[in-house]
Symmetry: C2
């Protein structure tokens, strides 16, 4: 059966890339802060970088900001990735970065919004409400979810690093993000769960990879936020040399030549993958 | 200075009510599942129950589901509460139930969406990304946030009940939701942070009230989800007999006479408050 991660795997092989291009139209990056400008900003990035992108990741916040027009723009952006996929003859998955999380029937509505209305292929979710808040998304067998595990911001430490006692007292406490990684690995019976693990703390990437040897990681934090690409890949790649989607947003969108920046990033990843393998 | 909770306190006193009316237009409750039907469903509830409502709580998911039209409807719904407030001469706060949570500049965009575009007075947030994900919302001094603490669904146990080790090892572990309550109480220096605590586990309400003696609780789970009103109030009211907003959604929207259901719920709360005081 086709699953989100079988689609992603195919795309990764088609384009030899682990690069996820983030579509974050910050108002300050736009000539005028409007939904149309946000859309045009993203369409330009999509057009110039699609050949090098294993996936695209639009962030809902930068569209929601404009109300109804923003949602028109977001749908257009996702449709534009689909059009590029058709042109290239290789499906480029769209991960909607929305970090949603709500209880059963409400989660169903969010899943309907992301997967049916917007036609995204995967979505980021907060795990705070537990397994039943994720199930309505998993019910879409060909779609995927990425659970927040260890994010790239300083405040991540407030909750995600807390030592939690799991099971019997004889086991030493583990950081909450490691427990999330264990849960995600255990819950991934349908090949449709990945996790978000920031590159800003490579030792966390190592710990999480140990806890979840099979999962795909969506990895923000390389570049602008200070994470080092080689250290991140060394810490988090799976034994098959894959399993990480390195997200770059501003490093591409603010580059003088976004196509070149994306190509260089793809090649830098390939080069490190090769070095690690040999 | 006026703060969200000073507005709420005034409204609670104006209408002698701790009732929060949930605006959850489930598609199955609508004659046809459209944005317009969702809006009309909510407008009817607002019109008939405003006199008894300390606050209204629309859930973003049931609007987002319809894309751009849904966001038009959500804005209309919030504006309708404002119009009822003007008519009654008493401001009824709108809590946008959106459970957002993202890092700095992205959180700013969500805050702009909720507070500037939609003109909600408060928003529910996931605490999973930590303090810096909440700051952009707190920057709006007259607006409020309710952090998810202990939700009313079964899956809440997966993370929120985990024993976490805080500070030195000499302190025994506390459930994660109790730690969130401590953090929220400590962070509430601007009178603009409340927490979400479900009524389905009254012992959690008691624990959380001990950890956060001053905070307002937004309390889902009474009625349809099985929480008992009197037990909840007994477990969670502040020493001043306030500090809880009891959210009712389907218990009002599916009642034959929503106005009467809201009035009865308000009176039941008053009656229990009185009994507990004497």
């Amino acid at each position: 059966m086709e699953t989100f991660f079988s689609f992603l795997q195919k795309r990764v092989d088609d384009c030899s890339s682990l690069l996820c291009v983030g579509l974050d139209p910050h108002p300050s990056d736009l000539p005028v802060p409007t939904a149309e400008a946000a859309r045009d900003f993203c369409l330009r990035i999509i057009k110039t970088t699609a050949s090098y992108a294993a996936a695209f990741k639009p962030n809902a916040a930068f569209f929601e900001l404009y109300g109804p027009g923003g949602w028109v723009a977001l749908k257009d952006v996702i449709a534009a990735v689909q059009a590029e996929s058709d042109r290239l003859g290789s499906m480029i998955p769209v991960i909607l970065d929305a970090k949603r999380g709500d209880i059963a029937s409400t989660a169903e509505a969010y899943a309907g919004s992301a997967f049916e209305h917007l036609r995204a292929h995967a979505i980021t979710l907060s795990p705070y409400l537990g397994r039943d808040s994720i199930d309505p998304f998993l019910a879409y067998k060909e779609k995927g979810v990425f659970l927040l595990c260890k994010t790239s911001n300083p405040g991540a430490a407030d909750l995600q690093d807390l030592p939690v006692v799991v099971g019997t007292d004889s086991h030493p406490p583990v950081p909450l993000h490691v427990h999330i990684a264990h849960l995600a690995q255990a819950w991934n019976t349908g090949d449709n769960i990945g996790i978000v693990v920031g590159a800003t703390q490579p030792e966390a990437l190592t710990r999480v990879r140990l806890a979840a040897p099979d999962l795909w990681f969506l990895v923000p934090g390389v570049g602008t936020q200070g994470g080092d690409l080689e250290t991140a890949l060394r810490s988090g790649l799976r034994t098959d040399g894959k399993g990480m989607l390195i997200n770059i947003s501003r490093g591409i969108s603010r580059a003088e030549d976004p196509a070149r920046a994306a190509a260089e990033m793809r090649d830098a990843i390939i080069n490190i993958q090769y070095t690690l393998k040999h």
